[in-house]
């Protein structure tokens, strides 16, 4: 089985993200970048499927981004992926989800695939579209926000998180799955694996080499106008007293002053 995993490099969850002076991007200085946590679940799942599955299963990682994003590919290789592909040229600098999905679609077709794994959402732009768009472009079914995945007899059984519950979907292969927290516990690569991953050659494609013309890369359909910090929430009022008094004061404040209940 050929498994393709789409990954993205994002600022660390602990990063103090600040808006750049241009007001349309974030300040990269001082930011530590990591593999998007949901993509890590996707990589781990792909490796586990290979470990327990049919012989000849391959796991290929894909990312779209500048040179620094090779770090996430090397991380995934150290976790156990077989190969990695990066796509980039400067025309992709302001790509939106639609353009990204188009690029990944071209890569997936180039590589060939039976299963595509993505993260449910990237924690930076929080667009939550690329996986779903990719499934539609490829004309394949998908499972979204998957917390358990079984592969059997050419189909997937995917537990998908939905509002207020879980939906179990049966998806014939080829199919696409977006990974949700809870799917697995991603492994920490051992040092020798990290060293070995440093030496793996990562294939680099430009959009043109994938058969996408420059206008395709520039054909974004959404854009950021401004980025701003959210309105600051100031510290409010502290309520004193023993538990009974404090509870009484709070009930009064919620009901009669703030009128939220």
């Amino acid at each position: 089985m050929r498994i393709v995993v789409c990954t993205k490099q994002v600022p660390d969850t602990e990063a103090q993200v600040k808006v750049s002076p241009d007001g349309r991007s974030i300040e990269e200085t001082g930011i530590t970048f990591i593999m998007n946590p949901y993509d890590e679940f996707a990589v781990e799942e792909a490796i586990q499927i290979r470990e327990r599955g049919e012989a000849g299963t391959t796991v290929t990682l894909v990312t779209m981004g500048p040179e620094r994003t090779e770090e996430v590919l090397r991380r995934g290789l150290a976790m156990g992926a077989d190969a990695a592909v990066r796509v980039w040229d400067d025309s992709l600098a302001e790509a939106d989800s639609g353009v990204t999905a188009e690029v990944l679609c071209a890569v997936a077709r180039r590589l060939g695939f039976d299963l595509i794994l993505c993260g449910r959402v990237a924690i930076d732009d929080a667009a939550a579209q690329v996986g779903l768009r990719l499934a539609e472009k490829l004309g394949i079914p998908h499972g979204n926000a998957v917390t358990k995945l079984d592969v059997e007899d050419g189909k997937l059984i995917a537990r998908c998180e939905i509002e207020g519950g879980v939906e179990v979907r049966e998806l014939p292969l080829p199919a696409l799955v977006t990974a949700q927290k809870g799917l697995n516990a991603p492994r920490y690569p051992a040092i020798p694996a990290v060293m070995k991953a440093r030496r793996v050659e990562i294939a680099l494609f430009s959009p043109a080499e994938l058969g996408l013309d420059q206008s395709a890369a520039a054909s974004r359909q959404s854009r950021i106008l401004t980025l701003e910090p959210p309105p600051a929430r100031a510290a409010g009022r502290m309520i004193d007293g023993d538990p009974a008094e404090a509870a009484r004061s709070l009930a009064h404040l919620l009901r009669d002053e703030a009128k939220v209940i």
């Binding site: 939550a128 768009r133 079914p141 207020g164 359909q221 959404s222 009930a251």
Partner: protein
Amino acid sequence: MSATSGIMVIGEVRESALTGVTLESLSEARRLAQAVGGEVCVALIGEGVASLAATAGRYGAVKAYVVDGAELGVYRSGPFTDAAMACIGAAGPRAVLVPNSGNGREIASRCAVRLSGGVVNDVTALKAGAVGLLAAHPCFGGLVIAEKESLSDPQIYTVRPNSFARTETGGEAVVVPLAADFTPSGLLARVVEVINERAGAVNLEEAAVVVSGGRGMGGPEQFAILEKLAGVLGGAVGASRAAVDAGWRAQIAQVGQTGKTVSPKLYIACGISGSIQHKAGMQTSDLIVAVNKDPEAPIFGFANFGIVGDLHEIIPALTEELRKRQA
């Protein structure tokens, strides 16, 4: 000049009723329709959903495009996308609003590919732009609010629950029945089972009141006091990552950067320190209350009301106080 006009809301049906976020989207669409030009309409997709046109009408829809069929009895992204495309094609809206639920995002993204369209997901505010609508979208773990624009015609936005007021205007929607051609490949996926794991009267994402517990709860059985409080308030129970990772609550209840984003009228954080990851999932709540025994907990830095003390005493006392007042 665009030939498209008006705003279409893709209705979301749960337990035979339109979801709250559908009514909120209709209300907001009605407020914005004048700026965009044209009227508000709704797409109703499912089996036996035509009767919901009356509700949609009361919240501002003038027309209800209805695709009704046995293939749509259970939600599946393929046929629902086909049906939504039929509605969009018939109405020709300038903008499409979709509930920002898992299913809503699936429909929005899949329709967008077919329309060569741009989507902005999870919007918390909308306003009229030079053409069409502009949206506010919290990103980077809620540390940044992006103003984003869908550049396509129609524009597509998915709407975060509890972001807009529900306003009944008492109108009526004319029903327009439509047929959809279902793409064969879209029918390949099969729903084997739907399991309800809801804790409380309402879904976490849509609840007007959320009571969440963290490490300070001390154990899984202690969440019973939060369930009682949520019960009195008609709310839902959430949890911090620490409580979920400790195995005290299900993953589905996690609020924060790697969990759910909620935006209730009232968020009560119990024994939650208030890390930036947790803040990301609840900072658009209207009012935040924190109960924590540590006076230095970061959550007191952004809560509207704070109580330093033992939540195991304060929460039952609060529940009792509210119950008394309700009686």
